[in-house]
């Protein structure tokens, strides 16, 4: 496997909060176009790993290499501009704004017109604004949300809010999409629906996806490669089949119930 094929390389990441080691010596390579799942029990450090990638935390030790560039410690907005977008475990939409406006926020960093252009407004700004709205609607149509474009995001049902959040992440034109428990709080039917949706956008937008999941069936059904962590330490990696039968994983994550089943 050549270095150039790697989109993301996490090298010996460690995150300490005072005396607590949330993540210890975590390494992972993700190639272009892969769909990798990260699973682990509650409090295993999954979201902490995401936060280190996106710059919300600066790792205590270790490096984050994105497309061959060391991005460790860059602020989140710069990381986002390089092409890493994320969603959050507990949906973080701008609830008072419409679904379309939420998507337009992600276009803002690439607006070339100045504040004065926007205030006057100059034709240059108006052109950009019109183009942004068109692209926002296109994107919402691509994810099947055009009907809801002008609804207040906070008023949408939970499942749709999740999709708006993903659409907003897609609007940043990411190369790598980080999804933090996208199926959290969904029933099995909704979760299955969402997984089809994620598979769909991966093909449409030619994305690499790194996904945290809690619902086992979900991640087993969609990710060809799965990494398992427990108490901040990697304990296994492999295909869903391998993971399912790994005694360490069964012990740490699936527990006794799974052994009986």
């Amino acid at each position: 496997m050549g270095e150039t094929e790697l989109i993301l390389s996490l090298q010996n990441l460690t995150m300490r909060f005072g005396g607590l080691v949330a993540v210890r010596d975590f390494s992972l390579d993700i190639r272009y176009g892969e769909l990798v799942g990260l699973i682990g029990p509650n409090g295993a450090g999954k979201t902490t790993i995401f936060n280190m990638i996106t710059g919300h935390y600066t790792p205590t030790a270790g490096k984050v290499i994105f497309e061959g560039r060391d991005i460790t410690g860059l602020p989140p907005w710069q990381v986002a501009r390089l092409g890493i977008a994320r969603t959050f475990q507990n949906i973080r939409l701008c609830r008072e704004m419409t679904a379309l406006e939420n998507v337009l926020i992600s276009f803002h960093p690439r607006v070339r017109a100045s504040v004065f252009d926007a205030i006057l407004p100059t034709p240059r700004y108006l052109r950009e604004e019109r183009r942004m709205r068109e692209r926002g609607m296109e994107l919402l149509s691509a994810v099947g949300l055009e009907k809801w474009a002008h609804f207040r995001a906070g008023a949408l049902p939970y499942g749709l809010q999740r999709r708006v959040e993903i659409a907003r992440a897609l609007a940043t034109s990411p190369k790598l999409l980080l999804l933090d428990e996208p199926a959290a709080g969904m029933n099995p039917a909704e979760a299955a629906d969402l997984m089809n949706f994620i598979r769909g956008i991966r093909e449409t937008f030619n994305l690499t996806i790194f996904l945290i999941e809690h619902v086992m069936q979900v991640v087993m059904g969609i990710c060809p490669r799965i990494r398992v962590i427990d108490f901040g330490v990697s304990i296994a990696e492999g295909t869903p089949e391998e993971i399912k039968n790994n005694p360490k994983v069964i012990e740490a994550y699936l527990g006794e119930e799974a052994l009986r089943a």
């Binding site: 919300h56 989140p76 986002a80 008072e96 406006e101 803002h108 607006v111 205030i119």
Partner: protein
């Protein structure tokens, strides 16, 4: 869409006609209240941009108003008056060398605004980068107090606590309402633009906004600078309306007034800030008898009670976060007409 544009144009023409007539013929008492209303509204429009739209709790606009007020005064005060006022400490160069004629008033106001923006950069770059919420409020409050103390002690520029008198009273409705219209237009454009969406996103969820690539610090600074500019211009207009200026004119109570106005109008609503600014000026004068009847300052008690009532019954203020639109007004008029028509018998 089109008819609304025409309505706006008609409204502006009507407003211009009223201002032109009012400056010449309006009762001086009412004329003065309207001027104060426009000035408060202008300060509030800027203030709601940082406090309401961006959701960053600043308590510093009185400092920016003070800077704008003094710089405008130093530009406009006639030379003979400059000789009379600075008795103990002579006025510093270059202000002892020149004065601007009437047409220079716009330059003086702009300079006041620009000085306030520069001060906003000095305060905002460290404060907005590191602080939010209560801590930002305390830091900006501290800035306002520092400016006050400086104004009391830089005798060579401000004549200290004795203040400056004899400022030409250039402010009239044309100036105050004109500045209000221009900066309100800018505020509405800003709020509804892509930049405004970024500001609102920061209010709603800062973490999400920065995860989408928005440079949160730069946008907070943008809103802070806009609010400082409005406050600086408002300060200049106020100095040239009253005709005297002392550091006490711009103490914390001024920020408190503006805070009441933007809460009354609805945090984040620009049209709300404008409407509430005029309402505030009117009530403020209407309650003057309370001060003379009881003890000075009683009307602030009445205001505090009013504010509590607003919080209890209109928690989101007059406008919430919405803006005034012609559709809303026409829709309301249509509904009222239907209601009246249905009950005509």
């Amino acid at each position: 869409m089109k008819p609304n544009w025409i309505l706006t144009l008609l409204f502006l023409l009507g407003l211009a006609a009223f201002v032109w007539w009012g400056d010449a013929h309006l009762d001086r008492f009412i004329w003065r209240i309207l001027n104060f209303g426009a000035i408060y509204a202008l300060g509030a429009v800027g203030y709601t941009m940082i406090n309401g739209v961006t959701g960053q709790f600043s308590l510093g606009p009185h400092g920016f108003m003070l800077l704008g007020g003094y710089l405008t005064t130093l530009f406009m005060l006639p030379l003979h008056q400059k000789k009379v006022v600075w008795l103990f400490t002579p006025l510093s160069w270059p202000f002892n060398q020149f004065t601007l004629p009437y047409w220079g008033f716009i330059l003086a106001l702009l300079a006041g605004g620009v000085l306030a923006v520069l001060a906003a950069l000095v305060v905002g770059i460290p404060a907005l980068r590191a602080l939010r919420g209560d801590y930002l409020a305390i830091a900006t409050f501290g800035f306002g107090e520092i400016i006050y103390v400086l104004a009391c002690n830089f005798m060579g520029l401000t004549n200290g606590p004795m203040g400056i008198k004899g400022i030409p009273q250039y402010t009239n409705l044309a100036w105050s309402v004109g500045a209000l219209v221009v900066l309100t237009y800018a505020a509405v454009r800003l709020k509804n633009s892509s930049f405004g969406r970024a500001l609102r996103a920061i209010r709603e969820d800062e973490l999400a906004a920065e995860s989408m690539g928005i440079n949160v610090f730069r946008h907070k600074l943008l809103a802070f600078m806009f609010s400082a500019f409005c406050a600086g211009v408002a300060g200049g207009l106020m100095a040239c309306l009253i005709g005297t200026i002392t550091p006490d004119l711009f103490r914390f109570f001024m920020t408190f007034y503006l805070l009441m106005i933007i809460v009354l109008g609805g945090l984040g609503s620009i049209s709300g800030a404008v409407v509430a600014g005029f309402i505030f000026a009117a009530i403020f004068e209407a309650l003057r008898f309370v001060d003379t009847a009881v003890v000075p300052g009683t009307r602030m008690v009445v205001f505090a009670v009013l504010l509590i009532l607003v919080m209890l019954f209109f928690r989101r203020g007059l406008f919430g976060r919405e803006e005034f639109t012609w559709d809303w007004l026409l829709g309301g008029a249509k509904r009222a007409w239907r209601w009246a028509w249905a009950r005509r018998s």
